[in-house]
């Protein structure tokens, strides 16, 4: 029974809860059991930074509260109360989103032990829908990274192959939904942090239109690029979650006034017979070819072919300015990072580290705190951003980057004049081995993972990544990404739902039918990795 429950999609689980076939307490307990069976044991009892022997998708498991909320939902259902469609369906939350009653760390030593006195808007909306929160998921520190290896609390492993990265920054949320630890999760996407992990873990991830989901209570990385979005195994599930957390929030000045409705209906309509007929799909020439793994290209082409067969009009589209997007992104993102992370100074909350020699001044305490609290990637980006904003460099760096941003927006605008949606592979490669990117030598190697996802963040337009099958050469998941004009998120659920149905039919089932036995793999890895012999797995 337990195994069955965790394999249910959120929509299926919601139906079974509504039909009283199972209780929310059973559902939550099944997922908690799955987490304990797959997340592993602490590798070093004395230090959290070693991580855990298994997936290590969760930084905090919220057992008691999740079961309490589930029990309340069950009781309410017994009393015949009207409940939200997803009431009682458990969810995992990226540990970049503040939560009352659970620690929030941003996977940084800077916030280790910090408890937020307030809830983010999305967390409040989860509570309002009465969705039990299973816990907080791992990420690259302050969401900076594409592998989740930059977490201060150990790497998260890819459920398809525990020696590989789960993508990042939201590797924890993606690994959790891909491995049946949770049917749903929340992520955040600044340059691909929802979509790239979704692609390499065979799950679905959506970066909504900028402003579609409130950022209030989401620890800021780069404010003009950050967006909260859903992670799930199916397109419909992401649509359902988007409807829960989306919509206007007066506490976020950049929040759109559009209501977050019609997404689930769009996903269902797209999956219906003939749902893709006449849809104009633009293949981005600039996001294929060189630098893209052969198997990724192959699955991508096949997916496009399925769309064509289903009646979509497929055209090729040029976006000449996308080649500048990565450079512009790293300047804008790091500039905003340098300012957003200034508040972590040891004065008001979180870590405070005193200088070794005991000579205390405010500057020295701030410096010691930031030196000890931040990891190398956070420092690298803070330094880069500080430099880019400095007098005399601003115009050349930040100013030029903003101009590129405008050019990228123009490319999108031109492309959407002839196309309803654009399509590309989500990530140039499948999941690569943990420790294989030496960013100390060349951080650009890691940054290139985001080449296909970054343009949408720069332009504020929405995008969805969904599984396109397994690459023939390594048997690992490949993601395909659709992009739509701003505020046309529903269109993504429509085409995403459509392609998902076609692929499921073509492959004889969903991608996760091929997922290896994660429980067993974790057990094997734990057996092989007696404490003290962990380096082999991490590097």
């Amino acid at each position: 029974m337990t195994q069955n429950i965790v394999e249910l999609t959120a929509a299926e689980l919601a139906q079974k809860l509504a039909d009283r076939e199972i209780t929310s307490v059973e559902a939550v307990q099944a997922h908690l059991d799955r987490i304990s069976a797959t997340d592993g044991e602490p590798l070093d009892a004395g230090s959290r930074s070693a991580g855990r022997s298994g997936l290590n998708a969760f930084l905090h498991v919220n057992t008691e509260e999740a079961l309490t909320v589930a029990a309340e939902v069950d009781a309410a259902r017994d009393r015949g109360e009207e409940l939200h469609e997803l009431a009682g369906v458990p969810i995992a939350v990226k540990d970049l989103i503040v939560t009352k009653g659970q620690p929030t760390t941003a996977a940084s030593k800077m916030l280790e032990g910090w408890m937020s006195p307030y809830d983010g808007t999305v967390t409040q909306r989860l509570r309002a829908a009465r969705m039990p929160m299973l816990g907080k998921t791992n990420l690259d520190e302050f969401a900076m990274g594409s592998t989740t290896e930059h977490s201060a609390f150990g790497v998260t492993r890819n459920p398809w192959d525990l020696s590989r990265i789960p993508g990042g920054s939201g590797g924890g949320s993606a690994a959790a939904v891909a491995s049946f630890q949770a049917p749903l999760a929340l992520g955040t996407d600044t340059g691909g942090s929802i979509r790239q992990p979704a692609a390499v873990t065979g799950s679905v991830g959506v970066k909504p239109t900028y402003g579609s989901v409130s950022r209030y209570g989401v620890i800021a990385m780069a404010s003009s690029l950050d967006q909260v979005g859903p992670c799930s195994r199916t397109v419909l599930d992401s649509a359902l979650l988007h409807e829960v957390v989306g919509g206007h929030d007066p506490q976020d000045s950049t929040s759109l006034t559009d209501p977050a409705t019609g997404y689930a209906a769009a996903a269902r309509a797209g999956a219906a017979e003939g749902g893709l007929k006449g849809l104009r799909v633009g293949v981005l020439k600039d996001l294929t070819g060189e630098g893209f793994q052969a198997g990724v290209e192959q699955r991508f082409r096949e997916a496009v072919e399925l769309l064509r067969e289903a009646g979509a009009e497929v055209v090729e589209v040029e976006t000449p300015n996308f080649r500048y997007a990565l450079g512009a992104y790293y300047l804008i993102m790091s500039s905003e990072v340098s300012s957003n992370l200034a508040k972590y100074d040891g004065v008001r909350f979180g870590r405070r580290t005193l200088p070794d020699d005991g000579h205390l001044t405010i500057e020295r305490v701030m410096a010691a705190t930031r030196a000890a609290g931040f990891g190398p990637e956070v420092k690298r980006r803070t330094i880069l951003g500080t430099y880019a904003l400095s007098a005399g460099y601003y115009d050349a760096y930040y100013g030029s980057a903003q101009k590129v941003r405008t050019l990228v927006q123009r490319d999108f605008k031109a492309a959407f004049e002839t196309c309803d949606v654009l399509v590309s592979p989500t990530s140039p490669t499948t999941a690569f081995p943990l420790g294989s990117v030496d960013e100390h030598a060349d951080p650009m190697e890691m940054y290139l993972n985001d080449i296909a996802t970054i343009p949408t963040n720069l332009a504020g337009v929405p995008a969805i990544s969904l599984p396109a099958g397994l690459a023939p050469e390594d048997g690992l998941p490949v993601g395909v990404q659709f992009m739509a004009p701003a505020r046309q998120d529903a269109r993504l659920y429509h085409v995403g739902g459509g392609l998902e149905a076609l692929l499921t039919q073509a492959n004889g089932g969903p991608i996760w039918k091929d997922l290896p036995d994660v429980v067993r793999a974790v057990q094997d890895l734990s057996d092989a990795n007696v404490p003290g012999a962990t380096e082999g797995a991490a590097r």
Partner: protein
């Protein structure tokens, strides 16, 4: 060690001063600039805070619409253009009074720009000061440095931070360089800050209390050789927080600059701190154009785009400019120049206007507001407006005096009781039985007693020295606890002695 100075007269013989002012006005909005925390002075430290004003992880700012309205109204009153689109920016610097380690402020796109204000020097000479800009920003928290001798951060053992003020809305008004003031520069400085204070008060957008830091002035001073056209290097004297200090600080800096320049030295561009006790400035930190705040557009806020129709509505509803209003009131009330200036300086123009409007005479209104009420406020160390005495009270007191129910002496007592919160004049007179004794019988008994005790005085009066009667009135007034009408007592005594 104090800096060398030249005499002011000597400085003026050789140099022309150029002034510039940055005046920060704290708005009296209910909530802060970017969040819902209350904007209240004097509350328990760190009680007026929310996650936003503490800069906790994940928080976002939202612009206070009332603050925008105040900024637009002030901009209009300063004859500025109002920007159809203006932005906020982040001014990045690490300091513990700034919770986010950046201040959200307007940088290259202020909401109001290119204005002017005509002020009056003491003798009524008008002087027009050009306004460069007025922009919105947030205040910082308040640091209290403990354990040091100076109360400054240098040498302190530890510092306390109060974030109640962090995020309070500010408007910073920046003038263009002011040339041509000559030896009236110190006087002009004071007149300018007075005019700004009066303006924001008349608009009702700030409590404008300098002792609470509602209006804070940074004064820029530079000198150029007489007749020159190229400005000298300036110093910026920070937080000169009283009208008198503004005048003195400008005068001091002119004298200091003159001494440096006359001895062949050059002025360092720097921040100076004004010290009221020594009436001098000391060097703060060097400030140069290389100060790098890494400004960039605030990505968490959208542009401020006030509706043109709304701007026009606010323009139409602006109160009469203070200078015009003063001119009108002075003529109506018939005060002398000196009387009127005293009234303005005491800040009771509004009170007198309301009192006169409610039916009292202008002379009587001035007598009470500038007299007993001002004295009592001074004794209690509060603003006149906070004493609890209203224009309606003054009108009521005047009518009680007119009806001879009380006299001036009792009226002063009544004012004291009003300030103590005992209610209105009539209520107090009743409750405390303060009405003038008008029963001749009671008075005659007291007069008889007095005459019995002072037969010599009685003899004097009867002998023709009528002015000696005062010696008899005193005891009668005492016996009736001051509640007798002294005129009536005099009448009765004279009548009794047959001298009338």
């Amino acid at each position: 060690m104090s800096d060398a100075t030249l005499s002011f007269e000597e400085a003026m013989e050789n140099f022309d001063p150029v002034l510039g002012f940055e005046v920060h006005v704290e708005l009296n909005t209910k909530t802060k600039m970017f969040d819902a925390a209350p904007n209240e002075f004097g509350d328990v430290p760190n009680s007026n805070t929310t996650p936003v004003s503490l800069g906790l992880p994940g928080v976002l700012p939202v612009v206070n619409k009332k603050a925008v309205e105040s900024a637009v109204r002030l901009g209009l009153a300063l004859n500025c253009s109002i920007a159809p689109v203006s932005h906020f920016a982040r001014k990045n610097y690490f300091y513990p009074d700034t919770p986010k380690n950046f201040q959200t402020s307007q940088y290259d796109e202020p909401i109001a720009f290119d204005g002017e204000i005509t002020i009056e020097l003491e003798d009524g000479t008008p002087f027009t000061i050009e306004i460069e800009r007025a922009h919105m920003e947030e205040d910082a928290g308040k640091l209290t440095h403990k354990g040091g001798a100076t109360g400054r951060i240098q040498g302190a053992e530890f510092s306390l931070v109060d974030y109640n003020r962090a995020g309070v809305p500010l408007i910073e008004i920046v003038t263009k360089p002011i040339v041509g003031a000559g030896d009236r520069a110190p006087e002009l400085a004071r007149a300018y800050v007075t005019a700004i204070r009066e303006l924001v008060k008349s608009l009702g957008i700030s409590d404008a209390r300098m002792e609470r830091g509602n209006v804070r002035c940074d004064a820029n001073v530079s000198l150029m050789p007489k007749g020159a056209e190229v400005f000298g290097t300036r110093s910026e004297t920070k937080n000169v927080n009283s009208l008198r200090a503004v005048e003195r600080a400008v005068r001091y800096e002119i004298q200091r600059h003159a001494a440096v320049l006359s001895s062949g030295g050059s002025i360092v561009q720097e921040t100076r701190h004004w010290h009221e006790d020594t009436r001098s400035t000391t060097s703060g930190r060097p400030k140069s154009d290389a100060d790098d705040y890494r400004y960039f557009p605030e990505p968490d806020l959208v542009p401020v785009m006030p509706d043109p129709a709304w701007i026009e509505q606010l323009r139409a509803e602006l109160p009469e400019p203070p200078a015009e209003r003063r001119k009108k009131l002075k003529a109506e009330w018939g005060y002398s120049d000196e009387e009127f200036r005293d009234v303005v300086n005491a800040g009771v123009l509004d009170e007198i206007e309301s009192t006169v409007a409610a039916g009292a005479g202008a002379g009587a209104a001035r007598k009470w507001w500038m007299g007993e009420i001002a004295r009592l406020a001074n004794v209690k160390g509060v603003e006149i407006a906070e004493l609890g005495v209203t224009p309606a009270h003054v009108v009521e007191i005047e009518s009680l005096i007119g009806a001879k129910t009380i006299n001036d002496k009792i009226a002063k007592q009544v004012i004291g009781h009003i300030a103590d919160g005992e209610g209105g004049p009539a209520q107090i007179v009743e409750a405390r039985s303060l009405a003038v004794v008008s029963d001749d019988g009671v008075l005659i008994t007291a007069i008889d007693d007095a005459m019995a005790q002072m037969p010599d005085v009685v003899a004097k009066v009867q002998g023709g020295k009528v002015q000696a009667v005062g010696a008899l009135i005193g005891p009668v007034m005492k016996a009736t606890r001051g509640q007798a009408d002294a005129g009536r007592v005099r009448e009765l005594i004279l009548e009794k002695l047959g001298v009338s």
